[in-house]
């Protein structure tokens, strides 16, 4: 059993907005308990607007108004020590970033400084973290790293706008692995890329994980990618984790009705029946339904579901579900 490396306890992070006198609270991350282990690929899956990106921001401690940390902790287990990232000051947080935990952003965004060459960007990242001797050949380090990952060397002399989307994504992945971090968080790394490039990106991530033996957290709504790369998956809905297990069990035996819908909506070879997706639309994170947030769309809705929020409990060995159904031992596929 691997050691846990990143843990959240009852994490709550809300956006508090003041729209002309009326306060609006967006409960983006609502009591999330996560335990991410070393040397694994953990996937977080869910629709848009379920709070995934906010969860990521909280994980790296990038909480700025109007986002507020309302409760809970984010703990990093580093060499026997337990560190709450929100207890660190700015400089400590800055050093943690990239050396310990790095970030791969969505490919469609322009995350590279448009007016400097790529090698300058690499140098900025290296020199902000490195020791004196590393600084001296920042360019060389960058070059070696690029070559190691199989990317063409001449991209270092290019400007961001000269590269294609897929190449930019690979560059940012290379950047993320520069300092051999123990955790890499990838936010929708394959969205907005064509399938061929997607495959390349997924392969690259898997190679990196195998080589560095670190942890990769992949956030994406694309279940196909999750199936391909994740060891364990956590399903997120309306700011909460509603199911968590190994990839095989999630796909083979989903317990939560939402997960069942998700899995059943995926196309399969040889099965030509019409796919069904989840009815209705995701709830507003400002006006959450009472009790379990999924009950308005759930085919097995019971009275207790409208009254009390189910907590994430271990149902089987390492298979956690947050659902009142599971409590009663009844679960079946959504028809």
């Amino acid at each position: 059993m691997n050691e846990s490396i990143l843990q959240t306890e009852q994490l709550k992070a809300f956006y508090v907005l003041d729209v002309y006198g009326t306060p609006k609270v967006v409960k983006a991350v609502n009591e999330v308990d996560l335990e991410i282990k070393e040397n694994e690929v953990y996937g977080i899956a869910g629709e848009s607007g379920c709070g995934k990106t906010t969860l990521l921001k909280a994980l790296v401690g990038a909480i700025e108004p109007p986002l507020r940390l309302v409760g809970g902790r984010v703990l990093y287990h580093m060499v026997g020590d337990e560190v709450d990232i929100f207890s660190l000051d700015e400089e400590e947080k800055r050093r943690l970033r990239w050396e310990y935990v790095s970030y791969v952003p969505q490919g469609s965004m322009s995350v590279l400084n448009p007016v400097i060459k790529l090698k300058e960007t690499y140098r900025d990242f290296i020199e902000s973290h490195a020791s004196k001797d590393m600084r001296a050949d920042a360019f060389q380090i960058a070059r070696n790293h690029i070559a190691e990952l199989g990317l063409p060397l001449k991209i270092l002399d290019a400007y961001p706008h000269q590269l294609s989307g897929g190449m930019r994504q690979r560059v940012t992945i290379a950047l993320a692995t520069l300092l051999h971090p123990r955790i890499i968080i990838a936010d929708e790394p394959t969205t907005a890329l064509d399938v061929v490039v997607q495959r390349g990106v997924v392969q690259l991530l898997k190679d990196i994980q195998r080589r560095l033996e670190n942890t990769i957290v992949v956030v994406t709504h694309d279940m196909g990618v999750q199936a391909n790369i994740a060891d364990r998956i956590g399903i997120m809905y309306a700011g909460k984790i509603v199911e968590e297990s190994t990839t095989e069990r999630i796909f083979g035996n989903p317990h939560h009705p939402y997960t069942q819908y998700l899995i059943n909506s995926l196309p399969r070879f040889g099965d030509k029946t019409t796919r069904k997706s989840v009815p209705g639309s995701p709830p507003s994170l400002v006006n959450l339904p009472s009790g379990c947030p999924f009950h308005p769309r759930c085919p097995y809705e019971m009275d207790i579901c409208t009254e009390q929020v189910p907590s994430l409990v271990n149902r089987d060995l390492n298979h956690k579900v947050a659902c009142w159904l599971a409590g009663e031992g009844e679960y079946g596929k959504a028809s």
Partner: protein, 337 residues
């Protein structure tokens, strides 16, 4: 090579065309109005009490017409006009007869140039630095206070602001720290002595202050807004997530990117800054092109006004051209079309 073709050549053509258009407008305006400047001059001469015999008046009219290039059809005049221009001949001043307009402009220009260059340098550097920092730390108290101050100063026209400063610091209303008029004390000789330089500085303090504060408020506000926008850009957030040191982010990522639109903004506002300088000079009776213009207006010296206008059009267009041509050197995205 494509850079030359697609950017440089069109830009140069535009440069030439704008100057040509402006000068043509300057040429046309007096000829389109119902006033006849020569008759007006005769009227003024008579009004000042000189008596003329009928015969000499015709001679005078003929001479004046030729001297001011008003003879022949419009097309002839136009040709002659350009001919003189290319010889750098702006003609003779109407009222400071027989001084040539060139000379008058040449004497006044250094004053204006000095004022303009120093104030632009000050407003540009300080405005951008302070505005940049204020934009980056936009939540801090000092940033908000500065913004509020700029909000009050910015909408004021140059004349009113200069005038208010005059009332405050040079008249007897509140303080009387600075001289009311002039570029140097009366009768002072332009030499390179410290005494003279100090004198000039003391006299130019208020005009420079007036221009700097007004210009600075605008630069400050635009830069602050730009920086706030850049701050929200993905690549800045990304660099922060990457743990890049703050000083690097502020300099290389935020300010460097915010400066780009600011530079084009500067170029476009050259005309405004120049006009503002002229107006300020008038308020303080500062001996630059502004005062020259004012005297020309009062005396109906059309030649002088035309000369100053043409000179300004060429000067400002050239300044904008220089900025436009150096822009690709700073922004790599424009280079590769």
């Amino acid at each position: 090579m494509t850079f030359m073709k697609r950017y440089l050549i069109p830009r140069l053509i535009q440069y030439v065309l704008v100057i040509w258009l402006g000068i043509t407008v300057v040429f046309l305006i007096p000829r389109l109005t119902p006033n006849d400047p020569i008759m007006r001059m005769i009227g003024e001469m008579r009004g000042r009490g000189s008596t003329l015999e009928p015969g000499t008046m015709d001679d005078i009219i003929e001479d004046l017409t030729e001297m001011y290039g008003l003879g022949g059809s419009w097309l002839d005049q136009y040709w002659a006009f350009w001919g003189r221009l290319f010889h750098g001949d702006f003609g003779v001043s109407f009222f400071q007869f027989p001084t040539r307009v060139n000379q008058l402009i040449a004497t006044a220009m250094p004053w204006t140039l000095g004022l303009l260059l120093t104030t632009t340098a000050i407003t540009w550097t300080f405005g951008n630095i302070i505005g940049g920092l204020a934009g980056y730390y936009s939540r801090k108290g000092w940033s908000r206070t500065l913004d509020a101050v700029a909000m009050v100063i910015r909408p004021l026209p140059y004349y009113i602001f200069a005038f208010a400063l005059l009332l405050l610091f040079a008249s007897s209303l509140v303080f009387q720290w600075f001289p009311l008029t002039g570029g140097a004390s009366m009768g002072a000789l332009p030499t390179f002595t410290w005494a003279y330089i100090k004198d000039v500085l003391w006299h130019s303090a208020l005009p420079a202050l007036s221009l700097s504060i007004l210009g600075g408020a605008v630069v400050f506000q635009t830069m602050k807004l730009l920086v706030q926008n850049v701050n929200a850009e993905s690549f800045v957030q990304y660099a922060k997530l990457g743990g890049v040191t703050e000083s690097r982010i502020v300099g290389k990522y935020v300010i460097r990117n915010a400066l780009l639109p600011q530079i084009t903004g500067l170029a476009l506002s050259f005309g405004q800054i120049f006009s503002g300088a002229l107006i300020t000079e008038i308020v303080f009776s500062y001996p630059g092109l502004g005062m020259l213009l004012y005297r020309a207006i009062i005396n109906g010296d059309y030649n002088l006004i035309m000369g100053i206008t043409i000179f300004s059009i060429v000067g400002i267009s050239t300044a904008i051209l220089v900025v436009d041509l150096t822009y690709p050197l700073i922004d790599p995205r424009v280079r590769y079309y």
